[in-house]
């Protein structure tokens, strides 16, 4: 595998895996991934410059796991997004300057400085922000799907979680509940080989994707570094959910290419493993696909960089929150619920 991957890292165009994507979609997927990587690289620089408090997490190398599935979701669908899934926020339409302001704990961030880094969800885009106990969000997604089913709505909820999450009780409770009630929910297991420093062979005895059968619904594995493959498998899972056939567990196999957080130098990861996965970079792959379509990728990169430059400048203009407001907003006076997000896939516009 390692040799093949290294060879494929040259100029081979990846095969077609979905017939539901237009050229615009393919470029859109690339743009979302470039945006995610660009935002996170710039944020890391800001972090080293002392402008980002706390710690810093990124999803370098895992961009296809959030971009593909998020692309398959409709505006009225709901997403519970994890900390290595920034592309999903971008696709739902969260303004990039608010993401930078969020990293820097500024007033303009999605949480207004009340929570840090990627701990956020823009409710006006149909997204629920994660909590640090990652599989908790599996139950929230299950509950969202339960509401859709109770009201007879053709909508789907989706959530991501890591390989470490499969060890927690909430993983079981959510899978069991969703299977029992045949809920329209998609579970994406983001297997990036490490939970902090714990490798998967110390996390489970049986591959979690096989466990789906025990809950009465399919578990499918997908190449987590191929954004069109993650799109396609999610599209199919969504179709199943809408047809009333219940949940799907998707295991997206990928690799965390950076440490758990900024302070972590990953010395516990064998060098060969990193080298092997470098050759499978999801952005390089999509670049080859898009270039083969005759698209000017350099122009896309320029466009992304310009957007990031502008966003960083705007975020730096955002003030730090006033300490006097720290005790505000513990309780809601009025209901404030989830709203619909962006859904850029051409399939929703009658295209493809």
């Amino acid at each position: 595998m390692a040799t093949e991957a290294a060879q494929s890292g040259t100029s081979e165009v990846p095969p077609e895996v979905s017939e539901h994507l237009t050229t615009d979609d393919r470029v859109g997927l690339l743009r979302a991934m470039l945006m995610m990587r660009g935002i996170e690289e710039r944020a890391m620089t800001l972090y080293r410059q002392g402008k980002v408090p706390g710690s810093f997490y990124d999803g370098f190398g895992q961009e296809a796991v959030s971009a593909g599935p998020a692309w398959a979701m409709a505006a009225q669908d709901r997403l519970c997004i994890l900390h290595r899934d920034l592309a999903a926020h971008v696709i739902r339409g969260v303004p990039i300057e608010r993401i930078f302001a969020q990293y820097m704990g500024r007033e303009g961030g999605i949480t207004g400085g009340r929570d840090g880094n990627v701990h956020f969800g823009d409710r006006t885009k149909g997204c629920v922000g994660m909590v640090s106990m990652l599989p908790d969000m599996m139950l929230i997604a299950t509950g969202l799907a339960m509401a859709f089913k109770m009201r007879g709505e053709a909508r789907v909820a989706m959530t991501w979680f890591g390989d470490g999450s499969t060890s927690r009780g909430d993983f079981h409770e959510a899978m069991n509940w969703a299977g029992l009630q045949r809920l329209p929910v998609i579970f994406i297991l983001e297997n990036n080989q490490y939970a902090y420093s714990t490798p998967v062979d110390q996390q489970f005895a049986v591959n979690p994707v096989e466990r789906a059968a025990a809950y009465g619904f399919p578990g499918v594995e997908v190449d987590g570094n191929d954004v069109e493959a993650t799109f396609e498998i999610t599209r199919q899972a969504r179709e199943r959910a809408l047809a009333g056939e219940g949940p799907t567990l998707i295991e997206a196999v990928t690799m965390r290419m950076h440490g758990h957080a900024a302070h972590d130098d990953m010395k516990y990861v064998p060098k060969e493993q990193v080298t092997e996965w470098q050759a499978k970079d999801p952005i390089d792959r999509q670049v080859r696909r898009v270039e083969a379509l005759g698209i000017d990728v350099a122009a896309v990169r320029e466009e992304v960089k310009a957007a990031i430059d502008e966003a960083v400048a705007a975020a730096l203009e955002s003030p730090m929150p006033d300490g006097e407001t720290a005790t505000d907003r513990v309780f809601a006076d009025e209901p404030a619920l989830l709203e619909d997000g962006n859904a850029p896939w051409s399939g929703f516009k009658g295209g493809a």
Partner: protein, 321 residues
């Protein structure tokens, strides 16, 4: 007005609110066909069907988590824990997800979690706890604890309509023991304290079942005029009502059925020490369950839970100070 038991009043609150608002539904273990371990949801299944009276798997974390998800989509779930003790299995969802959601991202979580709590009938260490202090210490959760049928109904309806997560402590020992007049239809009871009996010489502060203990203990206490303040809501805590009563009587006994350390009464005591110091004519006296698990055997349980005589003794002691 019809007379109802405390239990019937809770049931009535759910029934009336479900009739008037289709967003409201109830979920929990054995609550549907069976009608619940305490029969609080009895009859609801027949009227509203299996979707709105949802029997769930035995999974407390899932009950709370799925309720949160449904609430984010605009439904108003009422989740029942079979016993308040079991909330420990759903604690993470309640405290870390529900309690912090609005503060973090402005997304309101309109859930009500019903917790049958309290001891006094040999329930033992896992069916007798009063865990309200756990939630008082978790920002973002409201905590209410009615003592009368009238308040049980009104507070539950207010909880269901409140856009925040509300923990509803219903005392099992009051279920069938306490009766009272309860209005038909729906009405809201504010999350404030109530003067259960007015008095001038001493204030007894309590909530839930201990309100009845307080009333009985001080009904005729050597002719003293004893005020009993029923807190009703622990978060928010009606600080002004507490301080007003202390200003009037200058002597306070606080009762908790919960374990003493960090109990609601400890917070009340702290409030009085901080803001009513110059109104005190004696030490703040607390009567609470010592920091032990609630024992099973009646003699042991009675020895730890505050009894009428304990309250009388504490009041006499302070009145004579």
């Amino acid at each position: 007005m019809p007379t109802m038991t405390y239990l019937q009043a809770i049931s009535s609150a759910m029934r009336e609110e479900m009739r008037s608002d289709e967003r409201v539904f109830v979920m929990g273990e054995d609550i549907g066909v069976f009608g619940g371990a305490f029969k609080v949801t009895d009859g609801l299944f027949d009227e509203f069907g299996p979707q709105r009276v949802m029997d769930t798997p035995l999974a407390e974390s899932a009950i709370i988590g799925c309720a949160i998800g449904a609430a984010c989509e605009g439904l108003r779930p009422i989740a029942e824990m079979q016993f308040s003790d079991f909330i420990s299995c759903g604690f993470d969802q309640l405290v870390n997800v529900a309690g912090k959601m609005y503060y973090r991202q402005g997304l309101s979580v309109n859930i009500t979690v019903r917790l049958p709590s309290g001891g006094g009938f040999s329930g033992g260490p896992y069916h007798s706890q009063n865990p309200e202090g756990w939630f008082m210490h978790a920002p973002g959760l409201k905590v209410v604890a009615p003592s009368t049928p009238e308040d049980a109904k009104g507070l539950l309806i207010s909880a269901v309509r409140d856009p925040n997560p509300v923990v509803f402590m219903e005392h099992k020992h009051l279920y069938r023991r306490i009766k009272g007049e309860v209005a038909d239809g729906t009405y809201e009871t504010p999350f404030t304290a109530r003067i259960a009996r007015a008095g001038t010489d001493l204030t007894v502060i309590a909530y839930g079942a201990m309100v009845h203990t307080a009333l009985e203990a001080t009904e005729d206490l050597d002719g003293a005029s004893v005020e009993v303040l029923d807190l009703r809501s622990l978060v928010p805590l009606d600080e002004e009502a507490i301080l007003a009563s202390v200003r009037k009587t200058s002597k306070v006994v606080i009762i908790d059925e919960a374990n003493a350390t960090c109990a609601a009464g400890a917070q009340v005591s702290s409030l009085i020490a901080e803001r009513a110091w110059e109104d005190l004519d004696g030490p703040v006296v607390r009567v609470a369950t010592p920091d032990v698990p609630i024992p099973f055997s009646p003699t042991l349980e009675q020895a730890v839970l505050p009894q009428v005589d304990d309250v009388k003794e504490a009041c006499r002691e302070l009145l004579g100070y």
